[in-house]
Symmetry: C2
Subunit: 163 residues, 2 copies
DNA sequence: GTCCCTGCAAACTATTTGCACCGGG
DNA sequence: CCCGGTGCAAATAGTTTGCAGGGAC
């Protein structure tokens, strides 16, 4: 089993390829935003991405972040997620295996999981319906052990309180 | 296999129970909105729900629709979906078996599917992580036959153009 | 009667867009 | 040079909220 570990920096090339293919320009701002984004690990909001990008280029504006992330999405390098927060969060895609999310409705904490079986099943189902799947979003909402009141149960959010 | 076909009207009782349990009042507006919602089949936007509810009670306001749908969600009778449209859509839950969605990114058309296997798998995975799942959201984004350029392929949206 | 509920309009939040200027190719 | 890209601010879109008056219990 040849193990291929994709690191974020490897994704810079697909990005360049995409830009070239579309005839888009490489600007300082885009570079700053894309670099900041690819350095990202969990789920980023665009405000957070903005301040991260500003470390490399203080002049970057929020609108450009929105515009650039849209490009990243089209290039297949970013995936958007809408949890219940109202804000759209993004994560680098193609980096790890597809993974999905379980959100505790009490703690608001997000756990990631992956299941090849689910992946396979869903693509089989989709194929049967004539679809070619490009992206997917799979979110389970429920209660973690602690929220269920299980004695000794704990919540992954124990020290990652929201707000 | 005893087949239990839940019709929307059956859901009126759980709703009443919820209202009683929470000590909430039954008002004309709430009745109009809930009735309109339970009559619903696909995915409704709240503007649409508003005008539907206004047929029974012209005075209903949009804010009350938002407030009431939030109650329906808490009661477990409504499930929210965010497809790419920006607007949150709702559907009656508990009516049919859990079902998930495939969205064609070109036509914007939504196909529903259900897979017991996927359901089972996902709850097993969640359980392993200590979670008790209450709701879930499973959306596949891709291209329908036509959008893929398959000769003779057709798109379910053929006559259900968006907008 | 007592509060909960409601409609309206204003407030908010996230995202998009118009426009004059800037800079990459 | 040309035209796409950018920042800013204003414009949108969806959703929430404050408040005075009304209705359910």
């Amino acid at each position: 089993m040849g193990e291929v570990k994709l690191s974020a920096s490897n994704l810079k090339e697909p990005w360049r390829a995409y830009m070239r293919r579309k005839g888009l320009k490489t600007t300082q701002q885009r570079e700053a935003i894309v670099d900041a984004f690819l350095r990202t690990t969990g789920h980023v909001g665009l405000e957070a991405l903005l301040s991260s990008a500003r470390k490399a280029n203080p002049g970057v504006g929020l609108a450009t972040v929105y515009r650039t992330v849209k490009l990243l999405e089209e290039a297949g390098l970013a995936a958007s997620r809408q949890f219940g927060s109202g804000q759209t969060l993004y994560e680098v895609s193609g980096q790890r295996a597809h993974h999905d999310h379980i959100i505790c409705q009490q703690c608001q904490f997000i756990v990631e999981f992956e299941s090849d079986e689910v992946e396979q099943l869903q693509s089989r189902v989709a194929h049967r319906l004539g679809f070619n799947i490009l992206q997917h979003r799979h979110e389970l909402f429920g209660l973690c052990e602690k929220a269920q009141g299980i004695p000794g149960g704990h919540c992954p959010s124990e020290k990652a309180r929201k707000k």
